[in-house]
């Protein structure tokens, strides 16, 4: 019996490493969990990209759910995400608000002119100050905010057709059920 102990030890290690590999394919180790889920979105007042004299605040947006999509012209992954938003942005069921993050105004406008504008509205955070309140640490990131101004879902990294189908749409559907 005691001769089998090393074998069982080996088996245990195999299981442990196997679990590790499986876990790492399921989870992104670099993803920082957001403590803001199910908490009110931070208060913000940010200017619009097309008309900086006009500002949009969190309280302006209360009443209906919306998706905030953090993007920038310098962000490579945003280039991957953009065609997906162009194709599906209008059909996900909530307005998509572009959050232009630490970008140059001209670059941002040029980028949207060149690749198309999938957003219902684009707000600008040039300094990235409000982004810190949102816990943004890169782009793209997306936040689903409900009608009461509560963050219900966050996606770190690009929205892909798969993510939209399996995560975002169910989250939006759950919101629709809640609201009488």
């Amino acid at each position: 019996m005691s001769r089998l102990i090393p074998f069982f030890g080996f088996l245990l290690l195999v299981v442990l490493f196997g679990f590790g590999i499986w876990w790492n394919t399921q989870h992104d180790q670099r993803e920082v969990p957001s403590p803001l889920i199910n908490k009110p979105a931070p208060a913000f007042v940010l200017p619009k990209l097309d008309d900086p004299a006009q500002t949009v605040s969190r309280d302006n947006l209360l009443g209906k759910p919306y998706l905030i999509n953090v993007f920038a012209s310098w962000c490579i992954a945003c280039g991957e995400e953009h065609p997906v938003l162009m194709a599906q942005g209008k059909s996900i069921g909530v307005p998509v608000i572009g959050y232009n993050y630490k970008d140059d105004e001209g670059d941002a406008k040029g980028w949207l002119a060149k690749h198309g504008n999938p957003y219902d509205m684009v707000i600008v955070d040039r300094e990235g100050r409000t982004a810190i309140d949102f816990g943004v640490y890169g782009a793209p990131e997306s936040f689903l905010v409900d009608g009461k101004g509560i963050i219900r879902y966050k996606r770190i990294g690009p929205l892909t057709p798969d993510v939209i189908e399996k995560e975002l749409k169910p989250a939006i559907a759950a919101l629709a059920k809640e609201q009488p």
Partner: protein, 141 residues
């Protein structure tokens, strides 16, 4: 030699010159930012990172210090936004129990194996001494 010294200073300053009131404040800032993780690079702390966000967060920490916030308040401010992940020294709670005590558990398990093995050999020892080749018996595993 002097040149090297100044080169080092210049490097540290070039990353991020902040208007510290005095040396003590600068030391406090350095210690604090060393305990905070850069979210972008993740293997670096805020003090050493060159990432854009790290620079922003350093400024944020600096501003909070100017507002008279304590170290704990500043850490909490960042934890509220970025979760415990920003702390290099995570608090002991449900999700971090394994992180904190996992190594101890493994150590204890190893110790238990050693104790069991030694006891078994002690029991086997009288038999082994009678035997002609005790070394081979002992090499069982």
């Amino acid at each position: 030699m002097a040149l090297l010294f100044f080169a080092g200073l210049a490097f540290a300053q070039a990353i991020d010159p902040l208007p510290f009131k005095n040396h003590a404040e600068e030391v406090r800032f350095q210690n604090l930012t060393r305990e905070l993780r850069c979210l972008v690079c993740q293997n670096e702390n805020l003090a050493d990172s060159n990432a854009d966000l790290a620079r922003d967060l350093r400024h944020e920490v600096f501003n909070l210090m100017q507002q008279g916030k304590s170290d704990d308040e500043i850490k909490q401010y960042l934890v509220d936004r970025y979760s415990d992940f920003v702390l290099y020294d995570p608090p002991v709670k449900g999700g971090t129990l394994l992180l904190w005590f996992g190594p101890l558990v493994i150590l204890l398990a190893g110790a238990a194996v050693v104790v069991v093995t030694v006891r078994r050999r002690v029991r086997a020892a009288p038999v082994a001494t009678v035997d002609d080749k005790p070394a081979e018996e002992g090499d069982d595993w």
